[in-house]
């Protein structure tokens, strides 16, 4: 691995993260009503409000408040939740772990299923498999998560015919099978859109490689079809596949917001909706920042993997 490439990419991530903190702070500070008003409620008197604002430091210039907040974030201190009476880091921390279980399983399932699906479609181009996979991918990308989730609930969780639980969460460290049982429907919901998208992209990348000159050359050399595909086509289609998956992580992180809300999964998404409805500003800031960091890091990791897979990227 080229060290200067790594340093360059890390630097870019830091710059983007700095911009994100400014954006998050700006958006949450233009939200009507500040933390003091949130705590005291609509009927607070002006004197009480002013006193609490002074106590919380809300009367200071915004720039000072911003650096105060960023300083806390760097030390891992996101302040106190206005509604839950707990430190934000504690609330967001446990929600984060629950969300990562969900997103991680969804991502693993999607990767395992959709890459072979796309590859088969590309290899058997023009056949009934290709058409079916193509149809699946168009239908899958056109269904928003809330529709898929609702349809899955109707099919698999009706009171008359409950195959999977309609919602809830079991701690995987206590009862892993119970956890999996509760994870099936949310993972299926998240997976459908992603599988549809990734398999279509993999098919298109692989078709391109299959019609490239070096694959034609390999065929003309008289290599077996199996060898052409496993040695010459698949390795060259992997880098674009990783790029597609890393792009879809952004989509996945958005998807968990809706899916957790529908399936009562106690993760970042559900907490975010709660915080947005209750204007719990420190929690909103922390979740937004955490999601942005996860997204940036996953992009960074995928860039490094791609650079490893495809030497041309490193020197571009």
């Amino acid at each position: 691995m080229n060290l200067s490439y790594l340093i360059h990419r890390l630097g870019a991530v830091l710059v983007v993260m700095a911009i994100v903190t400014v954006a998050v702070f700006a958006i949450t500070n233009v939200l009507p009503g500040n933390a003091a008003l949130m705590i005291l409620g609509e009927n607070a008197t002006a004197e009480n409000l002013a006193a609490l604002e002074r106590q919380l430091g809300l009367d200071r210039p915004l720039v000072v408040q911003y650096f105060d907040w960023v300083g806390g974030v760097i030390r891992g201190d996101f302040g106190m939740s206005l509604r839950l009476g707990l430190p934000v880091s504690q609330v967001v921390g446990s929600a984060f772990i629950n969300s990562m279980w969900l997103a991680g399983i969804a991502l693993a399932a999607v990767t395992i299923i959709s890459i072979p699906l796309g590859a088969v479609a590309a290899i058997k181009r023009g056949t009934i498999y290709d058409t079916l996979i193509g149809l699946f991918s168009y239908v899958g990308t056109a269904l928003p998560e809330f529709v898929t989730a609702t349809l899955l609930l109707v099919l698999f969780a009706s009171p008359a015919n409950t195959i999977f639980p309609a919602g809830g969460f079991v701690d995987p460290t206590e009862d892993f099978l119970g956890f999996l049982d509760h994870a099936v429907l949310p993972v299926a919901t998240l997976g459908l859109v992603l599988m549809a998208h990734i398999s279509r992209q993999v098919r298109s990348e692989m078709s391109e490689v299959l019609s490239s000159d070096y694959v034609r050359a390999a065929r003309l050399k008289g290599l077996s079809e199996r060898r052409v595909i496993w040695r010459h086509t698949l390795p060259n289609s992997l880098a674009p596949a990783v790029a597609v998956i890393s792009l879809d992580i952004g989509y996945l992180l958005g998807g968990i917001i809706v899916v957790e809300e529908i399936f009562a999964w106690p993760g970042l998404g559900r907490l975010l909706i709660y915080a947005l409805q209750n204007r719990d500003l420190p929690v909103i800031q922390a979740i937004t920042l955490v999601l942005a960091v996860v997204y940036a890091l996953s992009n960074l990791i995928s860039d490094l993997v791609i650079a490893k897979l495809d030497p041309r990227v490193r020197y571009a």
Binding site: M17, V30, F146, G255, I273
Partner: protein
């Protein structure tokens, strides 16, 4: 157009879009009933001769509600996309044409905006603006802006160094003339393709916001809101969630297929 109709995907996209457009243009007039009328004798019914697609928890006719919701849903998608694509393209073209330090600063800010998942970004803006259809539209447009700006910029950059632009520069044409007459017409293809596909995203995000109670408000016939209202009764009458779900999927799929066919028509290399 002939190129679009030459692929089965293109034909499917055109047919789906035609159905959706007819519903959007004529929906409120061809609907058999008033979408807000309670048929209290026929609540939560499946499809029947009187109510082709069934009824909801108040006995309102689902077909009439879907048809009445079509203009709002399609206009939302088109409006949000047009606004986001318009503003994004202007920013992207400025960055691409200006180059240098201005380009660098603009792109860093856009990267910061793109670092947040799109739905999260939209949710933050909607919360700031307050729920409602217009607010949701603005939020989707703002969320689309950075991505579109990136595409417009790279499209401009790829055209900027072509021979015909260099020739125009050598002829001594003004910078504005070159941008308007040479760069834009040639850079606009990818922008249109991306915009078409984004209409389907806009419709899906709009419906999601409606579903979460942050977009259209009751008694609107917005399709996402219809799913959300029918959810309480989904085990007694699944049609209430299935019908608007299919309507959303059909519309999104129509724009997706059409956009893909458009891309192939613009760039024959990519059509496999």
């Amino acid at each position: 157009m002939r190129k679009i109709l030459s692929s089965p995907n293109g034909v499917a996209g055109v047919i789906l879009l035609a159905i959706v457009m007819i519903a959007a243009l004529l929906g409120p007039w061809i609907a058999p009933y008033d979408p807000q009328l309670f048929h209290s004798q026929n609540r939560l019914e499946g499809p029947s001769l009187d109510h082709w697609l069934g009824t909801d928890q108040y006995g309102r006719d689902l077909l009439s509600r879907i048809l009445n919701g079509a203009p709002a849903t399609v206009l939302f998608g088109l409006g949000a996309t047009a606004l986001g694509v318009g503003v994004g393209s202007i920013i992207g073209v400025i960055a691409g044409v200006a180059g240098g330090r201005a380009d660098g600063v603009i792109m860093r800010i856009l990267d910061g905006m793109l670092a947040m998942p799109e739905l999260l970004f939209t949710l933050l803006i909607v919360t700031f603006l307050g729920g409602g259809t217009l607010q949701a539209l603005l939020a989707v447009a703002v969320a689309f802006t950075p991505g579109m700006a990136r595409i417009a910029r790279s499209s401009v950059l790829s055209v900027r160094t072509r021979e015909y632009v260099l020739a125009a520069r050598a002829r001594g044409e003004s910078r504005a003339w070159i941008v308007v007459r040479e760069v834009l017409p040639n850079a606009i293809g990818p922008i249109i393709v991306e915009a078409t596909i984004r209409v389907s995203f806009a419709i899906m995000i709009g419906a999601t916001l409606g579903f979460l109670g942050l977009g259209a408000q009751p008694p609107s016939t917005e399709w996402g809101l219809m799913v959300s209202e029918a959810r309480q009764f989904m085990f007694r009458n699944p049609w209430g969630v299935i019908i608007p779900g299919i309507a959303i999927a059909m519309t999104a799929m129509g724009f997706n297929l059409f956009g893909d066919a458009l891309r192939d028509a613009f760039d024959p290399k990519r059509s496999h």
